[in-house]
């Protein structure tokens, strides 16, 4: 196995066009990440249609830069306003905002971007070295295993991302159901076409934008008149060099954060929120200054931020090899890969054309970390104004861009209607505790699940004289995947019960 193949494609990143995309993506990503009303998942979803007209490598570079930067940018509002820009920054807010209150916001932001950089680089290295062997292993997956992998992806996201296992699974099933609507090229039939607008089915990107962007538009409108906390100014006395020496003197926090972040990233569906919180918790346990945690301890920021950015790279490992995203934003990125005709699996690392695209994309993530550090440190000095963007302007801009993006995918007005309808339903469903991520995953993995189900049924029917279902439950790998599905559901039920007991 060639481990250093990534070096061959590094030069592709260093073209003026790609560097400009990285710069623009990082800049916009940090600002969008810092805006408390906008999640990284939504920002990446909204960007996908605009990458549609680019070369696959260029589009993915832009999406990757945005993904990296939004996770780091979310720390700005966590520190200055105590409202995490993204769930990934919840742990950062615990000590970050306390530091800002003590007049050390500038230091906190420095620590943030520096540790994000270290974690991010570590994560991409893990991505580079772990993806090829896992891709090779994925070759062992046959029809039934691929079916179970799709179900597993939805189950894990449904149990982790939702407040209730039942609602999470229902959201996943709803997504799978949406994927069956419209023209099915394999079966050659139109299904559930209640109106002509549904003939083309629900396009993945249309679903992504509707489910992630529209609820945020409604949320911004609904909460417009609510009082918001004022942003503290980014003041402090520390120089860049002082911050740099502090961060690198906290080797323990950096390494625990990066390691835990990477591990959580590889786990399907877990995401930055869990990475940040687990790393914060574990670093606290082994710290010499435990009592200072939660009172403005910089070490807490170092642990949380190195972890949530270390999650970014590894969250792409299960995505690129098995089509299972390691985080909600990675799920959106999967949509980005698919519209560029890149279907995850071993083949993308073998075929010359996709190989070049994928390795250029992975290499660009390293450069994106460097850009994130430089732009982040620069923006952190002037970050107060970002918080002042009024919600009404944000809401209408997101909506207009959502309509534009949706339409541009297939020049179809039906897509605009579907996007708006899905988004409105999702907004009200989220009020009842349903989550958008399992729905999206259902739409993405639906065709994989159904096609492999029908194929498996055909093979199983022939092999087991009609008892086709036996084919789905025999063989060690199938049993392992089913067991993980069941375990993740049981874990979800257990953790919900536990939280109810404590209520």
């Amino acid at each position: 196995m060639e481990y250093f193949v990534f070096l061959d494609y590094f030069s592709n990143v260093f073209t003026w066009y790609h560097l400009a995309l990285l710069l623009g993506g990082t800049f916009a990503g940090i600002i969008l990440g810092a805006l408390p009303g906008l999640s990284p998942t939504m920002s990446v979803a909204l960007l996908i249609p605009f990458t549609f007209h680019m070369e696959p490598a260029s589009g993915l570079i832009l999406l990757g830069a945005m993904y990296t930067a939004t996770v780091a940018g979310g720390a700005i509002s966590a520190i200055l306003v105590n409202v995490p820009g993204a769930p990934a920054n919840i742990a950062t807010a615990m000590d970050g905002h306390k530091m800002a209150k003590q007049g050390k916001a500038k230091e906190a932001l420095h620590y943030c971007f520096m540790s994000s950089f270290v974690g991010g680089i570590f994560g991409v290295i893990i991505l580079i070295f772990f993806t090829p062997p896992l891709a090779e292993w994925s070759l062992k997956f046959g029809t039934t295993e691929l079916f179970w992998i799709a179900i597993l992806g939805i189950t894990i996201i449904a149990t982790i991302d939702s407040n209730s296992v039942v609602k999470g699974l229902l959201s996943g099933l709803f997504g799978l159901m949406l994927a069956t609507v419209g023209d099915n090229p394999v079966l050659g039939v139109d299904r559930f076409v209640v109106t002509d607008h549904l003939t083309g089915g629900v396009n993945i990107v249309v679903g992504l934008i509707g489910l992630f962007a529209m609820p945020q538009v409604f949320n911004l409108m609904e909460n417009y008149y609510k009082d918001k906390s004022e942003a503290l100014s980014a003041t402090g006395s520390s120089t860049l060099f002082q911050s740099f020496s502090y961060v690198f003197s906290r080797i323990k926090a950096l390494s625990v954060g990066s390691l835990i972040g990477s591990l959580v990233g590889i786990i399907p569906g877990a995401g930055g929120q869990i990475a940040g919180l687990v790393a914060y918790d574990q670093t606290k346990k082994i710290s010499d200054v435990q009592e200072n945690y939660g009172k403005g301890e910089p070490e807490g920021i170092v642990a949380a931020e190195s972890a949530n950015n270390a999650m970014v790279g590894p969250s792409l490992i299960p995505l690129l090899t098995l089509s299972i995203p390691g985080s909600p934003t990675a799920a959106v990125l999967l949509g980005g890969l698919l519209i560029h005709g890149i279907f995850p699996g071993h083949e993308i690392f073998v075929a010359e054309q996709t190989k070049e695209v994928v390795w250029t994309f992975i290499d660009s993530l390293i450069v994106a970390q460097v850009f994130m550090l430089i732009i982040g440190l620069f923006l952190s000095r002037h970050s107060g104004w970002i918080m002042k963007v009024p919600d009404n302007y944000m809401a209408v801009s997101i909506f207009v861009l959502a309509v534009f993006g949706t339409y541009s995918i297939g020049n179809s007005y039906s897509d605009v209607l579907i996007m708006t309808a899905l988004g409105t339903i999702m907004f009200f469903a989220s009020k009842a505790g349903f989550s958008a991520v399992p729905v999206v995953l259902g739409i993405i993995l639906g065709p994989i699940a159904e096609n492999n189900f029908l194929l498996g049924k055909l093979i199983g029917g022939a092999r087991y004289q009609g008892d086709w279902w036996l084919y789905f439950v025999r063989d060690g790998l199938n049993i392992t995947l089913i067991s993980i599905c069941i375990l993740s559901i049981l874990y979800g039920v257990y953790s919900t019960r536990k939280s109810k007991k404590n209520t």
Partner: protein, 164 residues
Amino acid sequence: MVFIQLENQRKIHSMKPQFKISSLIVTLFAVALLVASFDEVFNPNPWTENEDYLFPRFLACGIALLSILLYFEKDISKKTSFKQLLPGLILIVIYVFVVKTVGFYVTSLIMFFSVVMIYHKREESTDFWRVCVVKLGVSVVFTVVLYLLFTELLNVYPPKGLFL
């Protein structure tokens, strides 16, 4: 620690019990799907061996089963403040139905201006005309930038109606 964080989030969500309208909607939805999968309008030969609707039928059964469990779940619905939401919702509905006929850029300009005018905080400014001019200016700049960036630079064309 992690658990406490996640649990706190769940607690926030589980404070206001409400009528379980969501469970009812989900059950009705599942039943409708099952009925549709056997309906001859969609599926010409529903009772034969064809597999066109097999997978959706399994899914509908799954949804129906889980919707029953939903009745035993503690309701965690959050209230919607329709008073704030309604103007925006109405504008969005009008926009979606008008955009095709009028054209994307003109409709978007009107939409942008209407939203920022309707969602207006008292403390922004007391001078109505000044607010109007500033907001109209921002709306025009936003639309023009969108046009230059996408249509002129990237050659991406939005819905074109009577106007641009």
